[in-house]
């Protein structure tokens, strides 16, 4: 006798993501670095910021700190970055 079973899953709903236009070059751009609070993430990003200045001519970099590693960047950070930066470096990892 055949039996019929039900699918237990819910597929993730697709979301369109619109990327901001990429700058042609980094020279003179303002860079925001988003730090996820894990050990040494600030040092890693600081090093990245310094390299971007020395080797790619970015004007300045500013570091922003999330509340913790498990949450998205909070609204205050996003708002500040919108007006104060042209390029963002964000990453997650242990």
């Amino acid at each position: 006798m055949t039996i019929e079973i039900l699918d237990p899953t819910t597929p993730a709903s697709p979301r369109p993501i619109e990327y901001a236009p990429r700058p042609g070059a980094l020279a003179g751009k303002r860079v925001a670095l988003i730090e996820n609070t894990k050990f040494n993430s600030d040092k890693l990003l600081q090093r990245i910021g310094d390299i971007l200045k020395a080797e790619h001519g970015v004007a300045e970099w500013t570091m922003y700190r999330k509340h913790n590693a498990s949450v998205p960047a909070h609204d205050e950070i996003i708002t500040a970055i919108k007006t104060s930066a042209d390029v963002v470096v964000a990453g997650i990892g242990d």
Binding site: E4, L6, T9, N68
Partner: protein, 345 residues
């Protein structure tokens, strides 16, 4: 006419083929599941008085709504009896609450499980174990309720081990991690009453948690002696730099000794909070805290959790044996707060 179940249907030859299908589609946790037929799923929904399309939770980070129908299907697969369904639903509400912060414990390399502590009359009605072999095998309710929640996390929220769930080592509690408080024999205020519910209400508390750490003290006849041992075991455990929650699970003999000294849960929490602090010097020497040793580090103390209230105290475990345990929380209380939800029936 009952509301239609909208999940996709699969016809298979027999129960064995149903099991094979569940395995091949990646719907199980590695153990066999009960085939989720419409009749079984409807019984689950009826027991919780829920329509199939009722929204139980919304996981913001996944943009996914968890419906009663999907909870019921996964509860059937886990082996739940229909009367367990309200507990599973309340737990899903808990992990879907933004304060629980699904994205962290649902995905983290830290390998959190969902510790579920059931309080109130439903714990006894459903025979949820609060005694011997507390975290071990033997009780259907304990093993299937937690399994149902985990299957929801896997099948609905996408926490697939090795993909979105990246626990580095994980632990067996990720299969099921359910206990009840032994309210019948406890001398203390039950956990749910401490957290604002009435004694006759039934609740489930969800806490993102590492595995249980057993400790023993067969020597001391005093509260202070037993809790000093506990604190010594606890002081370096879990994420000592993260300030998470902890759950203390005090079993029969220890419970009796501590209560005989007149200590209540509040005093236990305060004592343990004070006695589990680490010096900055120790944390730096053991490479848990960054930075070079500085003057004053030997006497500068860091508490294991931010406040005594971040320590949950539960009475459970067998009557015999001078053993109890503590359960470190995952990450930090700010990242994932332990929450208590009413079980609605």
């Amino acid at each position: 006419m009952p509301a239609t179940l909208t999940s996709q249907r699969f016809k298979v030859a027999d129960a064995s083929a149903a099991l094979d299908l569940c395995f091949s589609r990646g719907w199980t946790d590695g153990l066999p599941v009960v085939p989720p037929t419409e009749a079984a799923v409807r019984a689950m929904l009826d027991a919780a008085k829920l329509a199939p399309d009722a929204k139980i939770a919304y996981i913001r980070d996944r943009f996914v709504t968890i419906t009663a129908e999907k909870v019921a299907i996964n509860a059937v697969m886990a082996g739940c009896k229909p009367e367990y369904m309200p507990v599973v639903v309340a737990a899903v509400e808990g992990i879907g609450d933004e304060r629980w912060g699904y994205h962290g414990p649902g995905t983290s390399t830290g390998g959190a499980a969902v510790l579920m502590i059931v309080n109130g009359p439903i714990a006894r009605e459903l025979d949820i174990n609060a005694g011997d072999n507390l975290f071990g095998p033997g009780w259907r309710a304990n093993l299937t309720i937690g399994r149902a929640l985990r299957l929801v996390m896997r099948n609905v929220c996408g926490s697939m081990p090795g993909l979105l769930d990246r626990g580095t080592v994980g632990h067996p509690g990720k299969l099921s991690y359910v206990i009840a408080e032994n309210e019948a024999q406890s001398p203390w205020t039950p956990l749910h009453v401490e957290r604002g519910f009435r004694p006759e209400q039934s609740t489930v508390t969800v806490m993102a948690a590492e595995g249980p750490h057993q400790f023993y003290n067969q020597l001391s006849p005093t509260a202070e002696g037993i809790l000093t041992t506990l604190a010594d075991n606890m002081r370096i455990s879990g994420n000592v730099m993260g300030q998470p929650h902890y759950c203390l699970v005090l079993a029969g003999e220890h419970m009796t000794t501590i209560a005989a000294d007149g200590w209540d849960k509040k005093r236990i929490r305060q004592f343990v909070w004070e006695k589990t602090q680490n010096s900055h010097a120790h944390l730096k020497r053991t490479h848990r805290m960054s930075g070079a040793l500085e003057p004053g580090d030997e006497s500068k103390m860091r508490p294991l959790v931010a406040t005594p209230d971040d320590i949950l105290v539960v009475t459970a475990g067998g009557r015999a044996g001078a053993f109890s345990c503590f359960v470190p929380g995952w990450s930090s209380a700010k990242s994932s707060a332990a929450l208590t939800k009413e079980i609605k029936r």
